[in-house]
């Protein structure tokens, strides 16, 4: 079977799974199978068929598993969003259309040689910085939960950080490819860029008050630097500097300090000062409310979960039990409904996606392609780790999206551009082999 036929076969499987998922949500909620649920699945399948045709035209030799896996993840996300809030699911559906257009556009524009991006690396770098600074601007930016990550233009809102991430990777891939020999020698003056980017990450951290994004950007940078130079020393130094910086920020920024406290001690037996309403409350009823409720949701899922559409997310009065369930905490919703068996399978899909990404990087035969694939893949893995790890209390919780699954336009678009990038690299490597 050719690459693309294999992809098609995989997509058919995903399509069937999607139809089943929607049907089960429908049955659980309405006691009937409606054609509406199947039309969702049908629409969804048609979309991916179109994406598949674009891939057939532009990247015939690309990895045949990535697109179906992305389709599966978006389908799971869409099903769960639909189950939580049908209106949001409709909007998310529209965003998936937009994202697939961006995916197609990226493939069409770069199908002949994506490597010419390398010559625009500084443009990408500057754009990334510009995008990152946007939310900090007084008029455009808004603060959600004490973190400045959003930009509002009229009724439209988006998180520029998501796209900045992809741009930053393109820049780093170009820059590191050029400088890797000099950097590997380890002369003192070559540490300049390292310090510059460390400073940048810290700046982002202070400006946006967001530990997660800083960790993500800096992690991507360190990973790419390591692959480019092969020197552990840099990684060690980088981590050391990051920790030192984070420690300093911990002492000077109240918001970050609170995040750490919540992470270490989400439950208290006695009442502590609650900054939200100025009262004395146990911490689980105040600052760590979200984290604790989300953990209850995860643990309630137990081995097999409650079943799609049967989880408990609302009080008997109809109020929300867990805030931000659609976006930051969608994993805890899935964990409750699918149980350990379900979410472990889901995480294995992520793991598979990541390992395919690394395989593509191995097979690519020029430095820029390798670094690009590494950057994109590691960004994907690290982002998943930061949000899910935050929910599971492995690291302090920060609100970023779960790739392909969370509700949110900018995230879906950025991740499909990321996917397009990986397919382009993979296509080139495989085509040369054939």
């Amino acid at each position: 079977m050719t690459y693309r036929n294999r992809e098609l076969a995989n997509l058919v499987v995903v399509g069937i799974l999607t139809a089943l998922g929607f049907a089960s949500v429908y049955i659980a909620r309405q006691d009937i199978v409606s054609t509406a649920s199947l039309s969702y699945a049908g629409f969804f399948f048609a979309l991916y068929l179109a994406a598949h045709l674009v891939a057939r035209l532009t990247v015939p030799y690309a990895d045949p598993y990535l697109l179906p896996m992305a389709a599966l993840l978006t389908a799971i996300g869409l099903t769960e969003i639909y189950r939580l809030n049908p209106t949001d699911a409709f909007r998310q559906g529209l965003w998936i259309v937009v994202a697939l257009c961006a995916f197609a556009l990226t493939l069409f524009l770069l199908q002949h040689d994506y490597r010419r991006l390398e010559s625009y690396k500084y443009l990408f770098g500057l754009s990334a910085i510009a995008l990152l600074v946007l939310p900090a601007l007084p008029v455009l930016g808004t603060s959600v939960n004490g973190a400045r990550l959003w930009v509002h233009v009229g009724s439209l809102q988006f998180q520029p950080g998501e796209l900045a991430k992809v741009f930053l990777i393109v820049f780093l891939a170009g820059y590191l490819r050029e400088k890797r020999e000099v950097l590997a020698q380890g002369r003192l003056k070559d540490f300049g860029p390292l310090l510059l980017i460390w400073g940048g990450a810290m700046l982002v951290l202070v400006e946006t008050n967001d530990l997660g994004s800083a960790l993500l950007y800096f992690g991507i940078f360190l990973a790419m630097l390591y692959v480019a130079t092969g020197r552990f020393l840099y990684v060690g130094l980088g981590i050391g500097l990051f920790l030192a910086g984070a420690f300093a920020v911990y002492h000077y920024v109240e918001h970050v300090r609170e995040r750490i406290t919540i992470w270490l001690h989400p439950w208290t037996d006695h009442a502590v000062y609650c900054a939200i309403n100025g009262k004395l409350l146990p911490r689980q009823d105040c600052a760590s409310y979200q984290l604790v409720k989300s953990l209850y949701s995860v643990s309630h899922g137990s081995w097999f979960g409650t079943g799609l559409g049967k989880g408990t997310f609302r009080t008997t009065g109809g109020g929300e039990l867990i805030p931000y369930l659609n976006t930051d905490f969608i994993y805890s919703a899935l964990a409750q409904e699918l149980g350990l068996v379900g979410v472990a399978a889901l995480l294995l899909v992520y793991m598979l996606f990541v390992s395919r990404g690394f395989k593509i990087a191995m097979l690519a035969d020029d430095g820029f392609s390798k670094l690009l694939a590494i950057g994109l893949t590691f960004a994907f893995a690290l982002q998943t780790f930061i949000i899910v790890g935050g929910i599971l209390r492995l690291i302090p919780l920060t609100g970023i999206t779960l790739p392909f699954i969370s509700y949110g336009g900018s995230s879906v678009v950025a991740n499909f551009v990321l996917l397009a990038g990986l397919l382009l690299v993979s296509n080139r490597a495989n085509a040369e082999r054939e």
Binding site: G230, T306, A361, K370, L382, F385, L392, L394
Partner: protein, 495 residues
């Protein structure tokens, strides 16, 4: 570069693997611990997706049922209590905002089908696999709605409690407590429950006074003292006493009831008359003769000093006994720590629950054997099959058969020609004992009546307590006891 990529690849895979491990931890290892946490609302709400079992009175009257509410496309079974405040202290409530109380709390496992009986386990597991609604088991109580309604009506606006037991089995037939509350209001308007007006302070409408209300038993405790006196062989019903109107303790006079300046005086009497007319000096002298330790020993045989065994939650029941600074007081040396004379007529620091005093009456009536009180008669599965049925259990023998018989005769005398004449039922021999305990506020008494009937073969034993009364137990409590006994005896012999 590929070597670095391979290494980094391992890191990437390890990151996701760590997530799988952490998820496993929370969903298996830590799961049970989190489910038990007080603030776990998910767990509490999730229980409402279970079709909770019904709670019924002995004749089938529904005391707790469900109303279906759809929230976010999900069916929730919320509780309805058709009888309002009539049974609320025993049945309790199951709500989201205030968790649970009463049998709704203590029998939660049965009501939600989470009990470990094999056929329930099989059925709920099947339902879970099929995705069907899980249905809980129904509770059938021993309580009788007619007499219960009567008791609640007669308590009216007074603060107090009525408990009626079947002395032969320990079945709770009536358990009334006033002021009461409407369990339907717990979720939507809790303030209305807390802000009620009542004849006593604190009103404490949520308190089950029958099992958790502690009152000075006063003269009803003389039945316990008499048990000790007779059963120990130190006295007989014919033992003679001289009553000058008081008894001397620690060099001071302890006077009989009535006007303190001119207390009732009976002269030379026997123990039978002593109990019939509830003469304090007689019992004061018995107390001095046999000692506080002996009296407390017999109290324990009736169930004092232990949580009364009942299916309601442990924190809604209190043990009876001596209390010191709000704690149950177990004297290490009763001879020096307890005033035996005052203890003998139920003052000192003795406090008892209405349920406990009903158990005393029932024990005497049941030829000296105290039965364990119980309120859940049987539990049935949704198809009507019996899951478990409560077998009557003996708590212990309190006094010998002969002592019980002598006590019964004396208590019959109290109703026939003593302080408890208001409890007479035409054609039925009644045995009873009044009590009027001092509260420390002059003119304010805790009025009691304990009784059983028919005296020769009792089918009902009752304890009535009324707080903050101006009338004596024989005047205010005995008529209520009479009506409740009559209602129970008039009903079917063995429902």
């Amino acid at each position: 570069m590929n070597r670095q990529i391979a290494r980094l690849g391992l890191v990437g895979v390890a990151l996701v693997a760590a997530l799988i491990v952490a998820t496993t931890y929370w969903q298996t290892w830590a799961s049970a611990g989190l489910a038990d946490r007080q603030d776990n609302e998910i767990q509490r709400v999730a229980q409402f997706s279970i079709k909770r079992g019904l709670i019924r009175a002995s004749d089938g009257t529904i005391l707790a049922s469900n109303r279906i509410k759809k929230v976010g496309g999900q069916k929730l079974y919320l509780r309805r209590y058709p009888q309002g405040g009539l049974f609320s202290h025993v049945v309790g409530y199951s709500t989201q905002s205030r968790s649970r109380a009463g049998l709704e709390s203590s029998m939660n496992d049965y009501l939600t089908g989470a009990n470990r009986n094999l056929d329930t386990v099989l059925k709920t597991t099947l339902d879970r696999i099929r995705g069907a609604t899980i249905t809980g088991n129904d509770l059938w109580l021993t309580m009788r709605p007619g007499p219960q309604r009567l008791a609640m009506r007669e308590l009216a606006s007074k603060c107090g409690s009525v408990v009626a037991l079947d002395p032969r089995t320990g079945k709770v037939l009536v358990m009334a407590s006033r002021p009461t509350y409407d369990p339907n209001l717990v979720e939507k308007d809790f303030n209305r429950i807390n802000n009620i007006r009542a004849a006593c302070r604190p009103a404490a409408p949520l308190l089950n006074r029958a099992t958790d209300g502690l009152y000075t038993p006063g003269s009803t405790f003389k039945v316990v003292t008499a048990s000790a006196a007779l059963d120990s062989g130190r006295f007989t019903p014919q033992s003679r006493f001289f009553d000058p109107g008081y008894c001397i303790e620690y060099g001071k006079q302890v006077r009989n009831a009535g006007n303190p300046e001119a207390p009732e005086t009976f002269g030379s009497v026997d123990l039978i008359t002593g109990l019939e007319h509830s003469i304090n000096s007689v019992f004061c002298n018995i107390g001095k003769a046999i000692g506080a330790g002996k009296i407390l020993g017999y109290a324990k045989r009736y169930g004092f000093y232990e949580d009364p065994p009942l299916e309601t939650p442990a924190n809604e029941r209190s043990p009876s006994g001596l209390y010191k600074n709000g704690e149950l007081f177990r004297p290490s040396d009763p001879r020096t720590q307890v005033d035996p004379g005052r203890l003998a007529f139920g003052q000192e620091r003795m406090l008892a629950t209405p349920l406990q005093m009903a158990m005393v009456a029932a024990g005497v009536g049941n030829k000296g054997v105290v039965m364990e009180p119980f309120v859940v008669d049987r539990i049935t599965n949704p198809n009507g099959g019996v899951v478990t049925r409560t077998k009557p259990r003996k708590l212990r023998r309190a006094v010998s058969r002969q002592t019980a018989q002598e006590l019964t005769q004396m208590m019959e005398g109290a109703v026939q020609s003593g302080t408890g004449t208001a409890a007479q039922i035409p054609g039925v021999p009644v045995a009873g004992k009044t009590g009027t305990a001092e509260t420390g506020i002059p003119g304010r008494y805790t009025s009691w009546f304990i009784s059983f009937a028919p005296a020769n073969a009792p089918r009902v034993a009752v304890a009535v307590v009324l707080q903050d009364q101006t009338g004596f137990g024989g005047q205010v409590a005995a008529p209520i006891a009479k009506d409740v006994m009559q209602a129970i005896l008039a009903g079917k012999a063995n429902p």
